[in-house]
């Protein structure tokens, strides 16, 4: 029996579309595909696997799962089947690879590509990443930010040996509020919590699950409770001030998806002209798509120009010339 589609994700995405957080020109599958592309950069799951075909197929399977075309169980089955087709064994690796390319590993261990633990880790982590990003998007609409401006980090799945998240919270720069881990949506602490620079098992995302098999998730905290708990922005700003500053998430500003322009089959000279005129750049994931320059990149370009002019003025002053 086919797996049910991951309903929580579909529900979050529908909310995001309904609230105008996501472009309505895409259907849910299209939005799923876009998020899948964002998250595909996290190719952690193929560590120590160098078989190009298997990697390629795995990516396709994960993309299909993220796009809602297949369920988790089907994704796991497809990955097992691919390993069988390519003749993988934990002792010998892939037979078509030169000897010594992959070291023998213990059957059933996390290093064994065909173990349930490994396959499940890949599938679950990707699913959790997708769910976390969808939750982040749906919680980022202006109305939702106004009504529930904070997230609380909570355990959503039990673990035999749970990691010490309150300690991580403090390392990431947070302080506990009545023993709870609460911060405003868009607070940089979420990025710190998911940064592999801080924690070895982190996934470099600013939304749940933050780390491999963390079992952690978000609970929305409403405005009344956020105010009652005295939650502020990272610099002590009020909730209103912090949210008015349109805090950035790792994958872009909250509630404002970056516009994209399809340039498929367009004359290359024309593409170059559009790039020059608008400052847009090719999307690295899809070179036929131009990404409009974000506000952040326009600010960065402005700073660069201002500092170049400043340098020129200082150089002219040193040389006794008239500053431009």
């Amino acid at each position: 029996m086919p797996d049910e589609l991951p309903d929580p994700i579909a529900a979050e995405l529908k909310l995001a579309v309904d609230r105008g957080v996501l472009p309505t020109s895409l259907d849910t599958a299209g939005i799923r595909a876009e998020i899948a592309a964002e998250l595909r950069v996290k190719s952690f799951f193929m560590a120590k696997c160098s078989h190009a075909h298997y990697l390629d197929w795995s990516k396709k399977i994960i993309d299909k799962m993220a796009a809602g075309e297949i369920g988790e169980g089907q994704a796991r089955t497809a990955m097992y089947e691919m390993l069988k087709i390519y003749g993988y064994t934990p002792e010998g690796g892939f037979p078509d690879q030169p000897p010594g390319t992959m070291e023998p590993v213990m059957r059933g261990s996390l290093q064994d590509l065909s173990s349930y633990r490994r396959v499940n880790l890949i599938v679950r982590t990707q699913f959790d990443l997708f769910h976390g990003r969808a939750q982040q998007l749906s919680g980022s609409s202006p109305e939702r930010l106004a009504g529930a401006p904070a997230w609380e980090l909570v355990r959503i799945e039990e673990r035999t040996v749970p990691r010490d998240w309150p300690s991580r919270w403090k390392i990431a720069g947070g302080s506990l509020v009545d023993g709870r881990m609460i911060a405003l949506k868009g607070d940089p602490i979420w990025g710190e919590l998911g940064s592999s620079g801080n924690f070895q098992d982190a996934l470099d995302v600013d939304h749940p699950p933050f780390a491999f098999e963390s079992g952690m998730g978000w609970k929305e905290i409403d405005l009344e409770e956020t105010q009652a708990k005295g939650i502020t922005g990272p610099e002590g700003e009020s909730i209103e001030e912090f949210l008015a500053s349109q805090p950035q998430t790792l994958l872009g500003p909250q509630a404002l998806p970056t516009p994209r322009i399809s340039m498929k089959d367009v004359d290359p000279d024309l593409v170059a002209a559009v790039e020059k005129a608008t400052g847009a750049t090719a999307d690295p994931e899809n070179p036929t798509t131009l990404v409009a320059p974000s506000k952040a990149s326009r600010y960065a370009a402005l700073r660069k120009r201002i500092l170049e002019e400043e340098d020129a003025r200082q150089a002219a002053a040193r040389n006794g010339g008239t500053p431009p």
Partner: protein
């Protein structure tokens, strides 16, 4: 008070104009954007300074001072103004006035590094290795390395550092930048 003049060119729509009017009536968000960008400009400026003249003269490795202090710059905003703040300890106040530095309580001298080995360090880092020496004119006290006789630190009872406006971006750079930020911010509101 610095006044920012903004030139806008955007495709105007009724909704866009309404958004811009709302943003100009309550300018906290605009000022927050300006403050954040003024901080970023200051940080970029400090990071781009390769002003390690002393380190270069002594043949020493730069200590990363500017990189460190750039992280301490902060901004804040209200409906009336955007501000940036720098802790007094960064010494960036010298951009606006000269400073006189005196030894701390219980100390007689300031120690000025005189060679690459001591650059970015204090006399305490070389406990037991230094000797106090004073020339006959009694005007040039110093600490020298006992083993080589090399001058480690010049000793001074006070040091006056003249104002150096170039420690921070000029008023013009700040004004140009926040004007540009306001233009981008308001254009986006008008066109989105």
């Amino acid at each position: 008070m610095n006044v920012v003049k903004v030139d806008l060119s955007a495709k105007l729509t009724g909704a866009g104009i309404q958004r811009a009017i709302t943003a100009l009536r309550d300018r906290r968000a605009l000022h927050a954007e300006m403050a954040r960008e003024a901080v970023a400009l200051t940080q970029d400026y400090l990071l781009s300074r390769t002003n390690h003249a002393t380190a270069e003269r002594l043949g020493a490795k730069p200590t990363g001072f500017y990189s460190r202090i750039s992280k301490t710059v902060r901004g804040d905003a209200t409906a009336d103004a955007a501000r940036i703040r720098m802790p007094r300890t960064t010494g960036l106040g010298r951009a606006f006035h000269s400073v006189v530095i005196r030894p701390g309580p219980g100390k007689m001298f300031l120690t000025i590094p005189a060679c690459a080995r001591t650059y970015g360090k204090t006399a305490g880092d070389f406990a037991g290795q230094l000797a106090f020496v004073q020339k006959i004119d009694k005007r040039t006290p110093m600490l020298v390395f006992k083993d080589t006789g090399e001058v480690a630190f010049w000793l001074r009872r006070l040091v006056k550092q003249e104002q150096n406006r170039a420690l921070l971006p000029s008023d013009r750079a700040y004004a140009d930048h926040v004007s540009g930020v306001a233009e981008i911010y308001l254009s986006d509101l008008l066109e989105s």
